[in-house]
């Protein structure tokens, strides 16, 4: 059984990769869904493991986080409905920058980090993302897809 993260060959029946600790069977589920559509183009959506779809607005900067009216934080994509609170999404967690067909995600110094394909991105350093990638905010994993 090959680990989809580090390509290490693990024995059948192993639950976690011996090399990198990635979940072997469950991880493959998410990945498969994420690569279902690998088209490109400006219209993008995030889909959750439960099949929820969140449209990414067609603007240059899209703020992702958790709505908090008390501190007047209203992100463009509010992850509260997907369990953002329990899954450690910060109020202003990350920003998606879009320029033509290119797309990057920038972690805004969130408490629990932003991950692209299971690798944590440096805060405030935009990282290129493309349809087919898994983007994780805290513990909330979403698949980026072309709409």
């Amino acid at each position: 059984m090959k680990c989809k993260e580090c390509e290490m060959e693990n024995i059948e029946g192993a639950l976690f990769c011996e090399e990198c600790g990635s979940k072997l069977e469950a991880a493959s589920d998410m990945k498969d869904r994420a690569v279902e559509s690998s088209g490109s183009g400006p219209a993008l959506v995030f889909t959750s493991a439960d099949g929820e779809t969140l449209e990414i607005p067609a603007k240059d900067e899209v703020v992702i986080g958790r709505e908090d009216p008390i501190s007047e934080v209203f992100p463009d994509i509010d992850l509260t409905g997907l369990g953002g609170m329990e899954k450690g999404v910060s109020r202003t967690h990350a920003v998606i920058h879009r320029s033509g067909g290119d797309c990057t995600v920038e972690d805004m110094g969130s408490t629990n980090g932003t991950y692209v394909n299971k690798k944590r991105v440096q805060p405030h350093v935009p990282q290129a993302i493309k349809p087919g990638d898994e983007v994780r905010f805290g513990k909330l994993a979403l698949a980026l897809k072309a709409a």
Binding site: L15, C20, G21, K23, N112
Partner: protein, 421 residues
């Protein structure tokens, strides 16, 4: 006759895919008392070995004296207690005696003055001698070693004493306070003697750790606990970990020719003990298949029970039903993930020691991801901090290394608020 203990074995999968390649199976062995009946407290034979080096002065020493006072108030009259204090010199403050002399013993605590350096082996040796005076199978024999400093080139002597203690059924609970002590050594002393280990950042938590120790001694339900796993044909055990009371790799000591004999010391009747066994199974045709047998043996000295044994067979079904073979037991899965985080962290620290900073960084990165998946946000953040430290300085911070070592070992247990702070 009703057994005093209950063993429950849970496999990672009840069904395995038939006819495929060799595969991994995990078995979780949970051992607990069968009821309240056997929680009759065994008398203790308790040796406190306490660091009084100069750096203990002030808050640490104040809280230590308070905690020893608590111990004296909560030991039973017939328990034996000794107090050995050490810096680079040793003093047997209280030779082994009945705890009923508590007022007199407590009055001597006032005479402890912090001074000098730290020489753990001399203190441990003298403390062990005191505990040996009252050594008995009818008692819970235990040493509590507390230090806040690095010892001076006597680590091998310390580990030898821990082996000696372990072989005589004396478990060492080691406690490190602050950041300037050797966590590898303290963990090794407890592993070798089948004891426990704690890291305390805040001196306030000394009392919590001592309270926990007294409670654990007074709730010992069985001694001489041993788990033997005899594997069937085509099955071999490859690894074994203790997961409760804390995660500890017992593979080297316990796995031999594909079978397991793990000596686990005393059973805390409240927490119990758990082992996680990883085995390899050869391919087989559809049908029921016997993996092997797990036997737990133990003594209950208060009931004159010796070498009592409970056996359980482990079997799985080999099936062509892919959906059934894909089902994984959630409890075992969670424990395997915790052990996986512990292993990644251990390997990262080993890579640091051998100078492979790049390898260490990768392992810590993986550990951080697993920890986050487990909901251990604080530990994941600690791993991230250490990754930054590694990239910047090529070394871990002393506090960070301790936090990861102790944090991942204790993923299976609850700690008091003061102890995690």
């Amino acid at each position: 006759m009703k057994n005093e203990l209950n063993i429950k074995c849970i496999l990672s999968k009840d069904a395995l895919p038939a006819g495929s390649a060799e595969q991994a199976v995990y078995a979780l062995v949970n051992i607990k008392p069968a009821g309240e009946a056997c929680l009759t407290s065994m008398p203790a034979n308790f040796g406190l070995v306490l660091d009084r080096s100069g750096s203990m002065d002030g808050e640490k020493m104040d809280h230590l004296k308070e905690a020893v006072g608590y111990v004296m108030d909560h030991l039973n009259d017939d328990d034996l207690v000794s107090i050995t204090i050490f810096d680079d010199q040793v003093e047997t403050l209280i030779p082994s005696q009945a705890a009923r002399n508590r007022e007199e013993i407590k009055s001597k605590l006032g005479t402890i003055i912090a001074r000098g350096g730290t020489q753990i082996s001399d203190g441990l040796k003298a403390g062990l001698e005191e505990v040996k005076k009252g050594l008995s199978k009818e008692r819970v024999n235990r040493i509590l070693l507390l230090t806040d400093g690095q010892t001076w080139d006597d680590e091998p002597a310390c580990t030898e004493l821990a082996d000696q203690a372990g072989s005589q059924g004396i478990a060492i609970t080691s406690i490190g306070i602050g950041q300037d002590w050797n966590e590898k050594l303290l963990l090794e002393l407890s592993d070798r003697s089948r004891g426990n280990s704690h890291w305390i950042e805040n001196p306030l938590a000394i009392l919590d750790a001592f309270q926990q120790e007294v409670r654990s001694m007074q709730s010992v339900a069985a001694t001489n606990l041993r788990v033997t796993a005899r594997m069937g044909q085509g099955v071999k055990a490859v690894k074994v970990y203790s997961t409760v009371p804390m995660i500890c790799d017992r593979t080297i000591a316990a796995v031999n020719s594909g079978n397991i004999v793990a000596n686990l010391g005393a059973l805390d009747g409240i927490k119990g003990q758990s082992l996680l066994i990883e085995a390899r199974v050869q391919p087989a045709q559809t049908g029921t298949f016997r993996l092997g047998q797990v036997e737990v043996t133990y003594d209950v000295p208060s009931k004159a029970i010796k070498g009592q044994s409970i056996k359980t067979d482990l079997s799985v079904t080999f099936t062509d039903d892919a959906a059934a073979a894909a089902k994984v037991n959630a409890e075992v899965m969670n424990l395997v993930e915790k052990v996986s985080a512990f292993k990644l962290q251990t390997r990262a620290l080993t890579e640091v020691m051998t100078g492979n900073i790049d390898g260490a960084t990768k392992k810590l990165q993986s550990a951080a991801t697993v920890l986050l998946d487990l909901g251990e946000d604080e530990l994941a953040a600690a791993a991230e901090t250490e990754i930054r430290s590694l990239k910047k300085t090529g070394a871990l911070t002393t506090a960070g290394a301790k936090k990861l070592e102790y944090g991942t070992r204790k993923l299976t247990q609850q700690m008091t608020k003061a102890m995690v702070k």
